[in-house]
Symmetry: C2
Subunit: 240 residues, 2 copies
Amino acid sequence: MTQNIYDNAGFFARYSQLRRSVDGLDGAPEWPAIRSMLPDLRGSRVVDLGCGFGWFCRFARGAGAAKVLGLDVSANMLARASETTHDDAITYRQADLETLDLPAGAFDFAYSALTLHYLNNLAALFATIHRALLPGGHFVFSAEHPLYTEPGPDYLDEGPRTTDWLAEGVIKQHRTLATYLNLLIGVGFTIGRVEEWGASREQIAAHPEWKIDHRRPSFLLVSAARQANPASHARRDLSR
Amino acid sequence: MTQNIYDNAGFFARYSQLRRSVDGLDGAPEWPAIRSMLPDLRGSRVVDLGCGFGWFCRFARGAGAAKVLGLDVSANMLARASETTHDDAITYRQADLETLDLPAGAFDFAYSALTLHYLNNLAALFATIHRALLPGGHFVFSAEHPLYTEPGPDYLDEGPRTTDWLAEGVIKQHRTLATYLNLLIGVGFTIGRVEEWGASREQIAAHPEWKIDHRRPSFLLVSAARQANPASHARRDLSR
C-alpha cells in the first residue's frame, strides 16, 4: 500500500493551510489549464481518484454531472469532504488506488488531481480506469511533473524520491513523461492533449512567496480518451 | 528558410567524421530503439525528411520498401547520398522542409531523423506529412530531446537556441515535449509511442569519449499514426 501521508497529523494540518486547501480549485494556479481540458460534464457519471476535500466532486456536480464518486485513501480528507458536502449525488469512499476495483463501463469521466505520483503501480490503475469508462469516455489527470520530482541529472532513473514537503520523508514516485504516456497507450487510451504546466513569468513575479526562480514545469496535465468502439461506427453507418 | 548548416564546409567536414556518418545507422546509439518502433516496411512507399547521406533510405529498401523518396535541404548531403546509392527505387531531392509540398496519400510511411529541431514551422510540416500518408500510415521521428536543447531552468521558454556544435552559431529550435505531441495530435495524428532516449549507465561507462555524466535524455523518439478512416471499419463490418 502507498504511504498514506495525508493521515499524518502534522502533514494534514500544514496541508489544510495551503491556498488550494482553503480556496479550493480557484486557489490552484494550474486549475484554469485543467478546466480547459475537461469534457462537457452534463449528465455524466464521474469518478475522482484522490478526491481530497471533494472540491472537484462538488465542481463536477455544479457543471451538471449526474453522479459523482470521490475516492481517497485518507480518512482525514474524506471526513472533511463529507462535512462540507450536502449533495446526495456525491458519494465518498475510502479506497487504496493501488488495488482499486471499479465496475466496467460505469463512468463517462475519470479525474485525478496530484495523486498519481504517490502510486507504485500505475499500469494496473490505468487499466482499471480504462475498463471503468464507457467507449468515448475521457480521463483527465494532473500529476507532479517529472522535472519537479527529479530536476537533477537523473531524469531517466525512475523510482521513489523522498522529500520533506510539509512533513519529513514524503515518498513520491518519479516516472518520465514518456512512461506516463506509454502506460496510458498500453492499456488502450488515446492521448488527447499533454500540458507541461509551469507558472508564467508574470505569476512568478506576482508571487514571491512561491520562491520559484525557474521556468521548469511543475505539473503534468494529460487528457486521454477511451476510443469509441469501431463497431459503433459500423452501427451508425448501417442506420443511415 | 532554416539555417542550412550542413552546407557549411567546416561543419560538413566535421559532421562527416562522426561515427554515425561513417558507420551509418549502426553507428547511432539510438538506432535500436528507433528500429523497434518501425512498422513492417515491405511493399511500402517511404519518404525520409532530412535523409542526409541516405542511410535510412537504403535500409528501408533492404527491409522491403517498394519506393523511397529522400529529401534534404543540403546539397552536400544529397551529393554524398547519390554517390553511395545504386538503386532506381530510391530518389533523392533537395527540399526546404519549411515549405514542403507532398502529394496527398502518396506514402505509407514517413521518417525523420534528427532534423525537426532545426525547423521553425513544425505545424505546417506535420500537416503536410499527415496529408501525404494514407489512412493507417505511420510517422516515426527522432529529434534532439528538449532537455538536451535546453537542460537549464528555462525548459518552458520555447524558441531558438544557439550552440557551437561542430561549427559556431548552429541554431536549433527548442520546443517542449508537450508541444511536439500536441502539434501531432492537432493535425490528426494518434500518438503510438514516445521514447525519451538516453544512454544507459553501461553505455556511458563504455564510451568515456561521450563525456556524459548524467542520465538526462538525448533524443526524443515518437511513433504516430494517421488513423484508418472510420468509414473503412464500417465497410469491413458490412462485408462480414
